[in-house]
Amino acid sequence: MAETQTLDARVAALGGADAAPHRSLWRRIEPAAWGAGSFLVLLLVWQFVPYFVPLKPGTRLFFTVPSRVAATLWQMIVSGSLWAPLGVSATAFAIGLAIAIVVGLPLGILIGRSSLLNAMFDPFITAFNATPRLVFLPLLMLWLGIGLWSKVAIVFIGALFPLLINTYEGVRNGDKLLINVVRSFGAKEWDIARLVVVPNALPFIVVGLRLAIGRAVLGVVVSEFFGSQEGLGVVMVRAASGFQVDVVFAGLIVFAGLSLLMTGLVKLVEDRMTRWRPEHVNAP
């Protein structure tokens, strides 16, 4: 506790003007305390439900408590039964996301710079972005089989559009004056992209990346539910049909943790990049 206090004091000292000197410790930690408290209450209530509510035998099949989920998760980590399926899922995730980045960024820049391409691609982007990509899964399974590549394709379709659309928005946001200046100095389209458009669009692209990661994780989970032989999603579906509810929750926790971790890292990059932006001052 004492350490937290000194740390807080140092943070406050660094913060300078915007750290109000009169705010008490409680005022500063109140939001965090409420947040942690609600987590704790939820977990405790969940843990002790079986002691207060008599569960029917049928319902008990579907019921688990946090301590058992934690024990199962720990068991999966220690015994190593988590890593092989997770590796399979991570491979599909990484390949799909990488292809989405390789395709999405150049295409987004191209569409942002050319009004002709923009007009021609717009109906397709709108349609594919609005459509739940899951609808293509049966088709992709026919084409690519139920192995790695149908998963990669679903991840790719899901992750492509946030990247593409955000890159496009970032490019459109480019400062016309800067573009004209560079052009008056004899820059070609490639130089304009390299010197003005891409650096300016970078914060948008990072936001797109954050959204894409979320969608890619979702894509892995969903495609493993329906068209796959191995992977963490497959482990979860098999556990669900075998009434091993704690395994389902353990898998959910792993997916959620990885998703939060990755989006959190990207968010850090995002905050660093957008720090100089004036609107950032008003953000909470």
């Binding site: 609600s38 007009a119 109906p123 739940p132 026919l142 539910f225 009434f243 998703s259």
Partner: protein, 263 residues
């Protein structure tokens, strides 16, 4: 590149965009149809627009398509309605009562970030493969956009308006009715666009898992029996519905809250 000097899009420029877009779509389907003049056509793995159109006419004529759509629509709307009824008040209270916000915001963030679709197998087993199972999946996926946007909307409420209502003797309920709800409304409409997309995913997930009817079931069944023309037809129908719903809400946003169009 000269067109870029025009800041405000003229009527002609907008017309040009629609024309070019329509042209691109027609070109796409024409190329799709034409490519099989040169490449051998295998009806087990690919279909062509003429066959898809014939399959669609067949599905519409026999009434199968509308039956499947109607079956899928019921859990879609029930789940979405439940998401609005639960999500909007919860978000408003979270925004208006800071302590409730502190308590629930981290919890909701974690739920929203985690791939809740992963709970679908459990929900299907628990609630059954009928309407209720699907509706619960729809609710679980669609409720969070409403919570977060209602929350954000309340925090953006004009403090001046609140003070005016208070000085004129308005109570807590008057504040909700006259200030908070009207200013949250645009946020809710915006979130319904996101929620509709997630609800569509939820219906498909529910029907891919276990169903005996519905549009998602139709797609996976036509895939299983290699009826590619009908499968493509159903996929196109889902795409059209998704576009109509999301673009329709976008249009409604522009029509109802014109001051918010350009963020």
């Amino acid at each position: 590149m000269a067109e870029q000097a025009i800041v405000r899009p003229t009527f002609a420029a907008r017309y040009r965009k629609i024309l070019l877009g329509g042209f691109a779509v027609i070109l796409f389907f024409a190329a799709w149809q034409a490519i099989f003049l040169f490449v051998p056509f295998n009806p087990l793995f690919i279909s062509k627009p003429s066959l898809i159109a014939a399959g669609l006419v067949d599905l519409i004529g026999s009434g199968d398509l509308f039956h499947d759509l109607a079956v899928s629509a019921v859990p879609f709307f029930i789940g979405l309605a439940a998401a609005v009824i639960v999500g909007v008040p919860l978000g408003i209270v979270m925004g208006w009562r800071p302590r409730v916000g502190y308590a629930l915001d981290p919890l909701m963030t974690v739920f929203y970030a985690s791939p809740l679709v992963a709970l679908a197998p459990l929900l299907v087993i628990f609630f059954g493969v009928g309407v209720s199972g699907k509706a619960v999946i729809v609710f679980v996926l669609a409720v969070f956009p409403f919570i977060f946007n209602a929350h954000a909307g309340v925090r953006a409420v004009d403090q001046l308006l609140i003070n005016v209502v208070r000085s004129l003797g308005g109570g807590e309920w008057d504040l909700y009715r006259m200030v908070i709800f009207p200013s949250v409304l645009p946020y809710i409409v915006a979130s319904s666009r996101i929620a509709v997309g997630r609800a569509l995913i939820a219906v498909l997930v529910g029907e891919f898992f276990a169903a005996s009817e519905g549009i998602g079931y139709a797609i996976s069944r036509f895939g299983d029996i290699f009826a590619l023309d009908r499968m493509f037809g159903c996929i196109l129908v889902v795409m059209v519905i998704a576009v109509v719903l999301t673009e329709g809400i976008r249009w409604a946003e522009r029509a109802a809250f014109p001051w918010r169009t350009r963020q």
